[in-house]
Symmetry: C2
Subunit: 384 residues, 2 copies
Amino acid sequence: MTVTVAKGFLAAGVKAGLKSSGNKDLALVLNQGPLKAAAVVFTTNRCQANPIIWSKQVISDGEVSAIVLNSGGANCYTGPQGFQTTHATAEKVAEVLSISAGDVLVCSTGLIGEQLDLNKLTNGVSAAAAELSAEAGQSAAEAIMTTDSVSKTANLVSSSGWSVGGMAKGAGMLAPGLATMLVVITTDAVVDSSQLDKTLRAATRVTFDRLDSDGCMSTNDQVTLMASGASEVTPDPDEFQAAVTAVCHDLAQQLLRDAEGSSHDIAIEVANAASEDDAVEVGRSVARNNLFKAAIYGNDPNWGRILAAVGVTKAAFDPYDIDVEINGISVSRKGQPDLSRDLVDLTPRAVAIRISLNAGTKSATIYTNDLTHEYVTENSAYSS
Amino acid sequence: MTVTVAKGFLAAGVKAGLKSSGNKDLALVLNQGPLKAAAVVFTTNRCQANPIIWSKQVISDGEVSAIVLNSGGANCYTGPQGFQTTHATAEKVAEVLSISAGDVLVCSTGLIGEQLDLNKLTNGVSAAAAELSAEAGQSAAEAIMTTDSVSKTANLVSSSGWSVGGMAKGAGMLAPGLATMLVVITTDAVVDSSQLDKTLRAATRVTFDRLDSDGCMSTNDQVTLMASGASEVTPDPDEFQAAVTAVCHDLAQQLLRDAEGSSHDIAIEVANAASEDDAVEVGRSVARNNLFKAAIYGNDPNWGRILAAVGVTKAAFDPYDIDVEINGISVSRKGQPDLSRDLVDLTPRAVAIRISLNAGTKSATIYTNDLTHEYVTENSAYSS
């Protein structure tokens, strides 16, 4: 059901011919209302793709009728011709759906620096419009896949009569500012755009923003939340926040599990920090340390590499009063070895690192992957 | 000749039994004077090894008579027992050479979190002291190798009658704040410790600090410069600065070429920046981008990954007025594709990236390596 679990939304996923594989590569999601409220969080990368530049204009009034997403090309660093392609795509969606182009978000993903074929895009839009249905959420989720090995979807139905559904794509360039990906979340709850914005930012801050698979931030990130109001139910704000956060968390964990070439999913919990920012900074530094990530790939509980990564941060701590646990084994306490590293079993896919800074009461968990031969292969063997 | 090219210095490299391979693992360098001036630059990692803590005390008065270096163990995060091991090593050197322990620098390299065998260390010091000679510079350079495939040495003889020699070890954890390594540089020029300090900092800033092989900063970095004054020649300050910088550059390039598992040496020149700091920040961001590094391994001129890495920095630039060249081919200009990426030949080991920010007149070059299967293997297959 994914994005179509929420009433008022239709979706489609079609083959536009943009991908050389011939797989589905264009998705369309239409909000039939009665509301057309929306909120978007964009990449913080300063080198932004043409669909990002376009979509920032579209969302400025908080109203969105449809979103069109293509894989097979990022349409980034493609100059005025590339922007015209994005604009013409939105105009085509507006024409076939009888809506305003100013209410059409555009997302693209794929290789940077190549022009998209506008003819294929507009034909794809026509085909998608013809296939729009309340049953095609799964098909749309498949059409946004790039190096993803599986489609990512989530949904949550409230007992109060409203629901939240979502789809995501992303398997590399997963990093902060926004874990790099395209995400569309829909709801039939009655929520205005300013509450959507507040809710979405609060949810991404503790979910997608805590994902740091390979430290690389993309030029095309976009997370969109659209509300149709079709349930006619105004949700309790706390329950709605919890639902959107839960869907974001679910999708983020699916992105983590499907990260390119990974063999371990690593949760780095930084506890007893002086501030949440400190905890995030320390967790991210460890998550981005290639020596640590390669050690985990080799099932090597090399805790010295963890402390070396902690030591380059500006977080508050006494370097000789830090404790480190790996999969529940206390391997280092107060600047010294504790239990033998040989007790640590790193054969399971899930790895839990716990770093106690002993400097306060705040905590945060950053999620990352190991650095594997397969990651290098996937990112060197072809352009993406 | 390495560190013994400068008159007044003796060296030795011996097998102390610290390395499981049975190779040489302890080096000793003695300054016979008449001067015993020295300067040291340390890692900026806050998690510092015991030899770093010790050596910071030793250098505080600018006087050093000897330096002892061991491979086979980092003596980091080994608590009071580890500090006692460092202290006892310096005391042993002082005893056998009839000098003050407060004038003995100690360096260690190897796995973090394991105690060194003090008995082996002190026996090694005795053996090294017995073998000290003006011909053993090469032997000392071999004794500090860890995952290095070759020893690194350099020397430069001035026509004015003084010389500079150096040795270095390092093949991983090469990163900023100080490219991670142990380096000993000697000179027989007549230079006091304050000029040595100024000269060494100026040299490392534009050589070792511009090396960023894998973004990981070690806990044990130390670059030492010692002057014996034995040539009885006071050098021209500019010529002396140029000589020390040349030796540092030579050693830094040797570290780059021997970086673990690398198949390309990449020079990232950032030109037309508003400030040198901006140029360094941009170069470092690209040097640390795993997707870019994996693409170079695959001989893929994926310039979009370069711009995506530029875009996460705070440097001054207009994102759509950046030019990128790879090996002399202009692949992107002003936010658009320029010449075909197919024209770029990435089969040679040396890769030249040129990024023009078009925001000023400053420039800097950062040196890095590609991300290869062999890097992952070397850093996952065993603890180091």
